[in-house]
């Protein structure tokens, strides 16, 4: 593809996302907080608005035209997401409020799958949503929580991961596709294969990897996979739990009422089969419509292009930041995607980020919901810059220059 064609596609992408033209504090917005939430194209906003304007009604068991249309929109979205994931059937897609909600559905619902002689395996790099729920499951059942460590660069120790599965006591192995802090990527096909070989259910937290190219759950070989709509250009409040049918059957409902029931007496409630049996209450129908539109947008933009561009931008950002004095870049030096974590020597990252904000540069600071991982990397609080495919190289260069200026400002304050 020629540079001219690339620029035209990038311009088209940026034009499609209205918020990218915003100014903050009188400066053009340079949005580098995509690992927290991505920005939403006009077509997704339109789809949600259209639903509210023309088909807003509660779904399932309705007999009026609007309810039937809303139900059709929802189930069509389910089929679109299933196709997007390479799943065999729409019934393998359970709508949840986000990846955290999806992972909690599992850690609550798989209680019957583990006992006191069993173990649950997670990694040291997990987001709290793929750690805390498993801790609670182990506390309830007496199962052992095993943690595969990361190495000095923040990559998963694959040998240790495999060894922790050796005794065949692990029943559930849960791991991230990509770190939300350093962008370190895990070889999830290999991890799922190791889990399967040991007789464990595999749970992939794909939150940070949904823009990395075509995902195929059959090729990955996972039992479960969770992701959020708002990290792939969709709205907040919607996510997906994918499950292989035989695996989904093992997930007991943990929320009750609404569309998840099959029959109810005063003594007993029978749940509907998955996916509906795991979708209690009125769904976020507008969010589901938005998610489907986001899927369509990414497919039309070209998932291969999106993934390749994000890998390129992440590498370029690391390269630019490598030239900035007074900081330490965390995570593996190559092969990361979507996030660059920066430790500021002797300065508090929140102070630095507040100055960056005045320059229009949006980043995030803190432990990023991964306190054990941060501690393994030797830090409590770091800056995170997280590009997406719609950022420009000019924005990355501006962010690096702004970081230098911000560090200088805060160093000046410290010196007073």
């Amino acid at each position: 593809m020629t540079t001219e064609a690339l620029d035209a596609r990038l311009q088209q992408v940026r034009t499609a996302i209205p918020i990218l033209g915003t100014e903050v504090h009188g400066q053009p917005l340079v949005y580098l907080d995509n690992a927290a939430t991505t920005q939403v194209p006009e077509c997704v906003i339109q789809a949600m608005g259209d639903h509210l304007r023309t088909s807003n009604a509660n779904v399932h068991r309705g007999t009026h035209a609007l309810s039937i249309e809303a139900t059709e929109r929802m189930e069509k979205a389910r089929a679109s997401v299933a196709r997007f994931l390479g799943a065999a059937n729409p019934e393998e897609v359970v709508f949840a409020a986000g990846a955290t909600d999806a992972l909690n559905l599992l850690s609550s619902g798989l209680q019957g799958a583990v006992g006191p002689k069993d173990a649950v395996l997670v990694t040291q790099m997990e987001h709290h949503s793929n750690l805390s729920g498993w801790q609670a499951l182990c506390a309830r059942t007496g199962a052992e929580l095993r943690v595969a460590p990361v190495d000095g660069e923040g990559s998963l120790d694959l040998k240790a991961f495999a060894e922790l599965l050796d005794d065949k006591h692990v029943r559930i192995a849960a791991f991230a596709h990509a770190s939300n802090v350093t962008g370190a990527l895990n070889p999830i096909e290999e991890l799922c294969s190791l889990a399967r070989g040991a007789g464990a259910l595999s749970v992939v937290d794909a939150s940070q990897a949904m823009r990395q190219g075509t995902l195929d759950v059959t090729r990955i070989g996972c039992d479960f996979l969770a992701f959020s709509g708002h990290k792939m250009c969709g709205p907040t409040g919607i996510g997906v739990l994918y499950g292989r049918p035989e695996a989904l059957e093992r997930v007991a409902p943990s929320r009750f009422g609404g569309g998840m029931v099959s029959s109810v007496t005063l003594e007993r409630t029978e749940a509907a089969p998955a996916p509906h049996g795991l979708e209690a209450g009125t769904p976020n129908i507008m969010g589901i419509v938005g998610l489907e539109a986001a899927v369509g947008y990414l497919e039309e933009t070209g998932l291969g292009w999106v993934g390749e561009r994000e890998r390129h931008l992440t590498a370029r950002l690391r390269q630019l930041l490598d030239g900035v004095d007074g900081i330490e870049l965390l995570g593996p030096p190559e092969g990361t995607v979507g996030a660059v974590a920066v430790a500021c020597r002797g300065l508090h990252p929140h102070d630095v980020a507040s100055v960056l904000d005045r320059f229009g540069v949006a980043v995030r600071t803190g432990h990023h919901c991964a306190q054990p991982y941060l501690r393994a990397l030797g830090h409590e609080s770091v800056l995170r810059l997280s590009p997406a495919f719609y950022n420009t190289e000019g924005e990355l260069a501006f962010a690096a220059e702004s970081l230098e200026r911000a560090l200088s400002v805060v160093e000046g304050w410290e010196a007073r």
Partner: protein
């Protein structure tokens, strides 16, 4: 008007006179210079500010019969804000500090400087200062 309220009014007046974010921020941070820094040995859990995005410790005591604060933080901005609070309450009676209803956080200049996360921390700092005065 108590001495605490007078000093608070002066602080807010100075912030109003400074017309850009960086000048206002430098003014706040300048209060860190005169903060009586808490030694490491005194940074205990009982005086650690909970819910703050930075690490901060605040101890309220008496010096020559008036309130005196010793504190520290790994954030220069928080040290500045604690320093400003310390300057406002220094030498006041515990009763004056307890009766004080802080207004400075609602000042337009400070609303822009202090993120929601930090507002929680500063609220906790003010609570610790008052708690330290409560039994004196």
């Amino acid at each position: 008007m108590s001495v605490v309220e007078e000093r608070e009014q002066e602080l807010m007046g100075n912030l109003t006179l400074l017309d850009d974010w960086f000048s206002q921020h430098e003014y706040l941070v300048s209060f860190a210079r005169d903060l009586d820094v808490l030694p490491e040995a005194d940074k205990q859990d009982c005086c650690k500010v909970a819910g703050c995005v930075s690490n901060a410790w605040v101890r309220t005591g008496l010096r020559d019969g008036g309130v005196h604060i010793r504190a520290d933080s790994d954030s220069v901005v928080i040290r500045g804000i604690i320093g400003a609070i310390s300057a406002m309450v220094e030498g006041a009676t515990p009763q004056q500090v307890l009766a004080w209803e802080p207004r400075f956080l609602a000042h337009p200049a400070l609303k822009e400087h202090v993120s929601a996360d930090r507002k929680n921390g500063i609220g906790e700092i003010l609570r610790l200062v008052k708690q330290g005065c409560a039994h004196r």
